[in-house]
């Protein structure tokens, strides 16, 4: 299946190059630099200049320098100011010479002479880098972002504006390409007219950003399904502060007086499913006593808010490690007809706002004797060979689906669907096993 997709992608890439008749009539680009991630929203008005024939897709291009830093890309069609249908985005190629090519399929074919509006949203990671790389406790964290003044595209662009949203209005410097204006924390570039395809000009902003530069370096998420009524979810997380490293000493005295240390992370919020119960927060050496759980009223379906405070404040370069776990009722996530079961659960969940999970390993433990396992992932993931898991009087072991995902951001918080067949009679296997064991034991004894 995947192979077919690939072939299809290559074929369509060749097609895309031939879409020379497309023109970006108007591009409004917003680069959001308020967190450690770069979130770019492009509102593109696409025009089909060809005389005849309708076009099916648009090719979105990413600068070669950023091609490796794409965490997420998504598109919508837009009418007026409102987002409409979600558009299908397929990665065509991703190399550092040509840049990344993504094919966005229109909802309906774009007829000759027509124009349409699409919105492409891109999330890039590791592009906002601290500069200087090391700061002392009382210094503020300055970061630098390097991008492109122009909208990087395969097609010529008639008119474009770019606004850059910063985390604060304090800038050390920013590149100027007239017309450029800055008000408070927003820098506006453009409008620039008639830009050729693949045109580049370096945009650089050096500004203060004290937002939490957190990254989850490793996430192990285990979802253990028991058809007796419980789904146990456990996430083991390695987290580090990727901002400017702390230079010299950490003074608790200054920290208590709230002098400096603005870029340090004291606590963050994790959202859990609204039915999460028995939440725990611990690490290798025991319970972490500094956390608050806010449970909303059950009916509203709001998420459970868990305010996590690591044992110590995280300064630049500091790391921590913890485990959060909770239980979910099975009926909300598993549906069946006869012996066909389907599990639908979030593949990744919210860890903190503007999250970046560099490497996630998701292990879904299905009930013992589950078979014919079929995985429907919401986006491209790397599925590893299945494993076996033994617990609680298991005899043949439980099948484990192992999934690996790199560089996940908040947009990746989506449901995964797993179908399997399971004979319900197997539920009583273990009670019978125990009864038989004790019966024969006492029978032999007396």
């Amino acid at each position: 299946m995947r192979f077919l997709c690939l072939i299809f992608a290559i074929v369509s890439a060749i097609q895309a190059d031939s879409n020379a008749d497309l023109v970006n009539a108007k591009v409004e680009r917003t680069i959001d630099l308020t967190s450690h991630l770069v979130s770019i929203t492009n509102l593109i008005t696409v025009e089909n200049k060809a005389a005849t024939g309708s076009l099916k897709s648009y090719t979105y291009t990413i600068e070669p320098a950023h091609a490796k830093n794409v965490a997420f890309i998504g598109a919508h069609s837009v009418e007026g100011k409102k987002q409409k249908a979600k558009l299908n985005v397929v990665e065509v190629s991703k190399d550092s010479d040509k840049g990344g090519l993504y094919r966005v399929d229109f909802a309906e074919g774009l007829a000759a002479g027509q124009s349409t509006q699409i919105q492409v949203e891109v999330v890039l990671f590791s592009l906002v880098s601290p500069f200087p790389e090391e700061i002392s406790q009382n210094e503020k964290q300055l970061v630098v972002f390097k991008g492109n003044h122009y909208f990087y595209s395969l097609y010529p662009t008639k008119s474009q504006t770019t606004s850059v949203n910063l985390a604060s209005d304090l800038t050390e410097s920013y590149s100027q390409l007239k017309p450029t204006s800055k008000s408070d924390s927003t820098i506006t570039y453009g409008p620039y007219e008639n830009i050729k395809p693949f045109e580049q000009s370096e945009l650089s902003v050096h500004f203060e950003n004290n937002s939490p530069f957190l990254a989850v370096t490793n996430l192990h998420r285990t979802i253990e399904v028991s058809l007796w009524g419980n789904i146990a979810v456990e996430e083991t997380i390695d987290m580090s502060h990727t901002g400017a490293k702390l230079k010299g000493s950490f003074s608790r005295f200054d920290y208590m007086r709230r002098q400096g240390g603005q870029s340090s992370v004291k606590s963050f919020k994790t959202l859990l499913p609204s039915s999460a119960a028995d939440v725990y927060y611990r690490d290798e050496i025991g319970n972490i006593s500094t956390s608050n759980l806010r449970v909303p009223s059950k009916s509203k379906g709001e998420p459970v808010e868990l305010e996590l405070k690591p044992r110590f404040p995280l300064f630049g370069g500091w790391k921590t490690h913890y485990t959060v776990g909770y239980n979910l009722p099975v009926y909300q996530y598993i549906h069946n007809s006869g012996s066909n079961f389907a599990l639908r659960i979030k593949m990744l969940d919210h860890v903190y706002d503007d999250q970046l999970i560099e490497n996630a390993v998701i292990r879904i433990i299905l009930p013992e004797h589950a078979s014919n396992i079929e995985v429907v992932a919401p986006y491209k993931v790397d599925r590893k060979p299945d494993e076996k898991h033994f617990t609680y009087l298991d005899t043949v072991g439980r099948p484990v689906v192992v999934i690996n995902k790199k560089n996940a951001v908040e947009n990746h918080v989506q449901d995964i669907k797993i179908k399997f067949t399971y004979n319900k009679i197997m539920l009583i296997q273990k009670p019978v096993l125990v009864i038989v064991f004790f019966f024969s034991y006492f029978w032999l004894l007396f």
Partner: protein, 792 residues
């Protein structure tokens, strides 16, 4: 004497007690009770009741040890348990042989520690074995949970073992009493609450079970029981250093039995088998090795073994020789044998084959010994002599009742009661010497108090239903055996005396006893809940509104070490925290709670008590990266390093009398004070500076000046100082743990002008300067002179 021996020989095949023949009237009822138990209980109701009682006791004992788990969490407590846990974890995650060969390079830097050969592995093997069993049954449980709940679980086994032992000594009723007592008595709970994962937790069970099997083998004279005793002894040896107590008490029992003319072939069989097999088995523990045949602690057992062989041989000869021949031979043989043995021991000791008594052992006999010679032993609070209050605190009414039990045992003496009396006498003495040895006293106190109570109640409960009802609602567990036993045993035991007391008086006595027992139960719960259920690494305070606040500074700082320092970083701290740093911080320590190397500890003590420059030299020599101190001044935590500081000075002085003098740290009036009146040496030593670094700037509340130490209630004497060779790396939220980074020696500055500028910075360059040659050589000398001037 000869009569006794001969009779016993003839009786050896039967398993009745030897005293039965001696005091037929007194012991008839006992044996009748026993035979009745076995013969006239066809439905097994009594067995079920006893099993149910023991089950209840097990459950109660287990539950009453869970205070800390419920209040805090399932966590390993205190200091030593952290090492045990770490070792267990190592064993579970690698393999058993890996554990035996484990060389721990994270302890005692740069020496390291051969863990497999310096540890009693019984504890780790026990919990590792349970974990292995459960994981093979596919029951997923983390090794930590097993470690946390091991001691409460074993307390139930201890109760069962105590029941068995008391049953052998006296009666089943007394046995149940003893089991109930040992289940909840604070003296034992103090060492076996959940999370207190220490050797004692399983060793007390091993101790009681070994004694039970020993009594059983003495009673039966069977090789089977003696071998079981040896196996149980082997388990005890693998679990705790307190096995020495067994290997001295059992020979003593045998010796005393011989002296008072109770020698029999049963004892000969029991002891010979036990000693040979037990000694060989005990030598299999790497940590024990050849000690059983080479150290003085074990010589009593060997001597008794030789003696009993000689005794048996003489007995044998006696049957072959005439009385006159025998007497001559006897005197001759005894003189020769005694001379040879004595000379042998002296010569072997002199030649070094038998080690003299260790310091810890001396301090048992001479309480002042450790104070003079080994400050490190005295510095541990649990090695202090016991106060009377702690006897009462840990044993409550039992300590008052148990002498009565001793008296009853002496009054109706037999072979096994000699043993319990000896145990009581010696354990009482040792418990008086060291607080921690109350632990070995506790079981015997429970047994003897149970015997005393059981005997009293048996007497007063008879024929009196009112009293019986009263006791029922107090001690439901103990009720059953009286229902069963009383009607049967009493008509025989004291028929005449019963008529002398009115039923009302009896009721009164029973009520009084019941009240005592209730008070005992209340006291036990209270002590357990208040004194012994704090994990000590997590502290809790209650605000005025009653809201509980957790102070988790230790784990905060240890976890910071674990995650944010180099993997091979070396942390210097006082030895108390060594195991915790290794266990929770997973970093290399210089000294830890296994205080085997006094001079290394003294070196750390010296670094802590020297001024910063001197300390820096020591720290560079020891490759120290971080220094960790515990400081309670901000929130008033009294167990901090400043309060322990005099011990560091004392221990350092023991090894470095030229550099460190305790008197320097006192004022002229001989006071130890940290305010401005304190001695200058104290106010400038490393420990002081690290504890109070930047503390002078902080004002906790408006009524006190800045830099007010809430533990010692003074304003500190030396406030605005800077650290020169160290920098603050981390301080926990409430400042309890402070970690400092040892700086690298700073670079020499090439520019001449710059050099002049930093001249004020004392002796940073002095050390390097000495080694270097050339132009700069003269400068540091000047700098050094200045630094000294600044100091004063």
């Amino acid at each position: 004497m000869s009569n006794v021996t001969r009779r016993n020989v003839s009786n050896a095949a039967k398993s009745s007690t030897s005293t039965a023949a001696q005091n037929p009237q007194k012991h008839e009822p006992e044996s009748i009770v026993h035979s009745k138990n076995d013969a006239h209980d066809p439905t097994g109701v009594k067995t079920i009741l006893i099993v149910a009682c023991l089950g209840c006791i097990w459950l109660t004992g287990f539950a009453s040890r869970l205070f800390s788990v419920i209040r805090y969490e399932s966590i390993i407590h205190e200091f030593d348990p952290w090492f045990n846990y770490r070792a267990t974890y190592h064993m579970v995650t690698t393999s058993f042989y890996e554990f035996l060969n484990w060389f721990d390079e994270r302890a005692w830097y740069p020496l390291g520690r051969i863990v497999g050969g310096t540890v009693y592995p019984g504890l780790m093997i026990t919990s590792g074995g349970i974990h292995w069993l459960l994981s093979n049954l596919n029951i997923t449980i983390h090794i930590r949970e097993i470690c946390v709940f091991l001691a409460p679980f074993f307390s139930g086994l201890t109760a069962v073992a105590t029941y068995l032992l008391t049953k052998e000594l006296w009666s089943q009723g007394a046995g149940l009493f003893a089991a109930a007592f040992i289940g909840i008595v604070p003296g034992y709970i103090s060492r076996s609450v959940a999370g207190s994962y220490d050797n004692e937790g399983i060793a007390i069970f091993a101790l009681m079970f070994t004694y039970y099997l020993w009594i059983k083998s003495v009673k039966t004279g069977r090789v089977f029981w003696a071998i079981l005793t040896a196996l149980s002894y082997f388990y005890m040896v693998s679990a705790w250093g307190g096995y020495v107590f067994i290997i001295n008490l059992i020979p003593l029992h045998v010796f005393v039995l011989m002296i008072i003319g109770r020698y029999s072939d049963r004892i000969y069989v029991a002891y010979s088998v036990f000693y040979i097999i037990g000694t060989i088995l005990s030598m299999q523990i790497p940590f024990v090795g050849f000690q059983p045949i080479r150290t003085s602690e074990h010589m009593a057992a060997a001597g008794t073994f030789a003696l009993i062989q000689a005794y048996a041989f003489l007995n044998y000869l006696k049957t072959k020789l005439s009385a006159k021949e025998f007497r001559t031979f006897f005197i001759f043989a005894v003189t020769i044998a005694a001379g040879v043995v004595f000379a042998g021991v002296v010569v072997l000791t002199y030649l070094g084959y038998i080690a003299p008594w260790s310091g810890r052992f001396y301090s048992l006999w001479d309480t002042g010994y450790a104070k003079i010679h080994i400050p490190i032993i005295t510095s541990v609070s649990e090695h202090q002599p016991t106060t009377w209050t702690s006897f009462f605190f840990d044993l409550h009414i039992l300590v008052c009742i148990f002498p009565a039990g001793v008296w009853f045992c002496i009054k109706e003496i037999n072979d096994e009661r000699v043993f319990i009396v000896l145990y009581a006498v010696f354990a009482s003495y040792f418990a008086g010497v060291m607080v921690r040895l109350i632990l070995t006293l506790t079981p015997v106190v429970c047994i003897l108090a149970a015997i005393a109570l059981s005997k009293t109640l048996e007497y007063y409960l008879f024929d009196d239903n009112v009293g019986q009802d009263k006791s029922e609602d107090k001690e439901p567990k103990d009720k059953s055996q009286y229902d069963e036993k009383v009607p049967r045993s009493f008509p025989h035991s004291k028929p005449q005396q019963d008529k002398n007391l009115s039923p009302n008086l009896k009721t009164l006595v029973v009520i009084a006893l019941a009240v005592l027992l209730v008070l005992f139960a209340v006291h036990c719960t209270w002590v357990t809940s208040n004194a012994y259920s704090s994990p000590s690494i997590v502290l809790a305070t209650y605000s005025e509104s009653g809201h509980r606040q957790i102070i988790d500074d230790f784990r905060e700082a240890y976890y910071w070490l674990r995650k944010n320092t180099r993997d091979d970083a070396r942390v210097m701290s006082w030895w108390d925290y060594g195991y915790q740093i290794a266990g929770m911080g997973n970093r290399t320590t210089l000294v830890d709670n296994n205080t085997w190397n006094n001079s290394h500890i003294a070196l750390v003590g010296k670094a802590m008590s020297s001024n910063e420059t001197e300390a820096y030299k020591i720290m560079r020599e020891l490759d120290v990266d971080y220094v960790l101190v515990i400081f309670g001044g901000l929130i008033g935590y009294s167990g901090d390093d400043i309060n322990k500081f005099l011990w560091m000075v004392r221990i350092a002085e023991g090894e470095h009398p030229k550099d460190i003098r305790e008197s320097d740290y006192f004022t002229e009036q001989g006071e130890f004070r940290v305010d401005s009146g304190g001695s200058q040496t104290l106010l400038n030593c490393l420990m002081y500076k690290l504890s109070y670094y930047r503390f002078g700037e902080i004002q906790v509340d408006y009524r006190t000046p800045p830099g007010f130490d809430r533990t010692r209630n003074v304003e500190i004497g030396n406030k605005n100082f800077r650290l020169e060779h160290l920098e603050e790396a981390f301080t926990s939220e409430h400042w309890i743990v402070r970690i400092f980074r040892v700086k690298e020696p700073s670079n020499r500055v090439a520019n001449k002008d710059l050099l002049r500028k930093i001249r004020r910075k004392k002796s940073v360059h002095s050390k390097k300067g000495k080694k270097r040659q050339g132009v700069i050589k003269n400068k540091p000398v000047v700098v050094k002179g200045k630094s000294a001037a600044i100091k004063k």
